[in-house]
């Protein structure tokens, strides 16, 4: 129940981000052609929405098996060896996560301590209304004179996204260690295309012989 709600929540957030970036560019096009105007912060917001979309999405991608890999070698191995290879893979993935998280932490701490802000994007006034005057700069690094969105907030998903990714990889590691899985689940475009057409992809005869022909 909780798992189902969590999944729907993730999907809703990601769909919302995807929809937002599409509509932002669409509205920009309509405004330029229809009214010959534009909003100066739209491009920056669109680009950062897409970055948030990817950063929040990669961990979801691990959960639903959306990422792709090369299985040319490991599919030749027996299940036990395959599991060991996959465990090493996930451990290396975790090394990757730790490296990026360390870097992101140092980077964001620096950005926060300097108090850098975005180039064009203003802080939404709804958010500003909730922040007491004294905390504006000291806690949130928002310049009251020119309230641009603080950069630590805009770039923060880098840290959050990779923390979530670490969590998902640990989950995969658990499944591999307990033997529930013997490989990392990856996407297969061909299988999905078949399933879309209503055909069971596991029934495909991978050999060259015709003996199993229905």
């Amino acid at each position: 129940m909780v798992a189902k709600f969590g999944r729907q929540f993730e999907e809703s957030v990601l769909s919302f981000l995807l929809m937002t970036m599409t509509l932002l560019v669409f509205v920009e096009v309509v405004m330029r052609f229809g009214f010959n105007t534009g909003i100066h912060w739209v491009q920056e917001v669109t680009l950062h929405t897409s970055a948030w979309f990817v950063l929040f999405g990669i961990s979801y991608g691990v959960k639903v098996g959306a990422h792709i890999g090369v299985d040319a070698v490991i599919r030749l191995l027996n299940p036990e060896l395959k599991r060991i290879f996959s465990i090493i893979s996930v451990l290396l993935c975790l090394v990757y996560c730790v490296l990026i998280i360390t870097g992101a932490w140092v980077y964001l701490a620096k950005v926060y301590s300097i108090g850098l802000a975005m180039d064009d994007t203003p802080t939404p006034s709804i958010l500003m209304a909730f922040i007491p005057e004294s905390m504006m700069w000291d806690t949130f690094k928002i310049d009251v004179e020119e309230p641009l969105l603080p950069m630590w907030f805009a770039h923060g998903p880098l840290l959050v996204g990779f923390l979530l990714l670490t969590y998902r990889f640990i989950e995969v590691l658990k499944k591999l260690l307990t033997g529930e899985w013997n490989e990392i689940h990856m996407a297969d475009e061909a299988k999905e295309a078949l399933e879309e057409a209503g055909i069971d992809a596991d029934s495909v005869n991978l050999g060259s012989e015709e003996d199993t022909k229905k």
Partner: protein, 466 residues
Amino acid sequence: MTIGFLFVALFGCMFLGMPIAVALGLSSISTILFFSSDSLASIALKMFEALSEHYTLLAIPFFILSSSFLSTGGVAKRLIRFAVALVGHIKGGLAMASVLACMLFAAVSGSSPATVAAIGSIVIAGMVRSGYPEKFGAGVIANAGTLGILIPPSIVMLVYSAATEVSASKMFMAGFVPGIMMGLILMIAIYIAARVMKLPAEPFPGFIELLKSMLSAMGGIMLIVIVLGSIYGGVASPTEAAAVSAVYAFLVSVFVYRDMGPLKETAWVKEGENGVTLVGRALLQSIVAIPKCINDPDVRKVFNDATKVSLMLLFIIANAMLFAHVLTTERIPHSIAEVIVGWGLPWWGFLIVVNLLLLAAGNFMEPSAIILIMAPILFPIAVQLGIDPIHLGIIMVVNMEIGMITPPVGLNLFVTAGITGHSIGWAVKAALPWLSLLLGFLILITYIPQISLFLPNFIDQMQGYK
């Protein structure tokens, strides 16, 4: 030393079975840490910049969204009906119509396996009913489906321009003529085969059916017209055209075709209704239906599918940019280029090497991943040998097409085997005669750059840049 470490780490990680994105990222980061003085913080910043500073890349999620709205069986049926009405009456017409339908559907969906599944599952059975050998039909479809990545708008071309900073609009212009040409080559071959094998022709259904079927297919065809028209006309960037096409695809599939969404079961015409009330009722229904879309299972599924594919690709691209950064700072392509130029290899010899390398890679990797790894290496070398970057891009794309129908990772072969219920080996044999056409076409494309460069140069001239 650096080169060796980078590539051993990359291929080691990939063959262990790691996600390609992480393999690219980890091998690049460890190379940076071992062989240069960049800090982890600067790598994290690079990663964020790779995700947030490339406006052209936004076209990828937008095109994926628009194609997942329109890659439905309903759209496939309409395009097939139109194609059959148009060319079905020629000898071997049903097979030719399948090629045409594949070309149109491929342009709308941008995915080769999806094209083979959607078109193939309908037309192969139809061809068998009309007396074609099943092998013939399956081979044609497996090959025609590969046109998806050559006919613009194409995701693989966007990936190439992300990897090399070549203009995506130019790539879209360059792919058009080769795409049509390959379609025509297939159709001519079918015509000749039909004469020899005495394959049947369909009766001509009459101009009224032709017009009707065209009108019904228009929703899909207009998407190609909007995208290519606005890009070729120079009025919109690929990103803007893609955003418009995503919104257009949503409107067409939910409110016009009604293949999905809240109006799925609602008929367009009620009995004894006149035009005015019909339009009025349709408008009213559509307005009521818009908020319902948010919680509609079909619409949500389209968004989820598009989300998965987009974030997978964009994450690979972000890591590939780290990889490209390592290549440039370590001047790896330059050292390779010096070696190759030192061999005295002429440009055509280099292109043979490129073709062989890509065909080999295409046997075990996905097209976008190959382009992201190979393009940053091949691109500087090609430039030094005087090869046009756009021409190189088209060569790479055609190689990727061939990779889709050669075992073991030939996605189209897998799908063809799936929809016909035969084995992969059978699908390989079915596709083989047509594959030789594709290989011949690759040689044409490689050694006659004008085929690819004619249209982009012509449009440049028209707009007065040259």
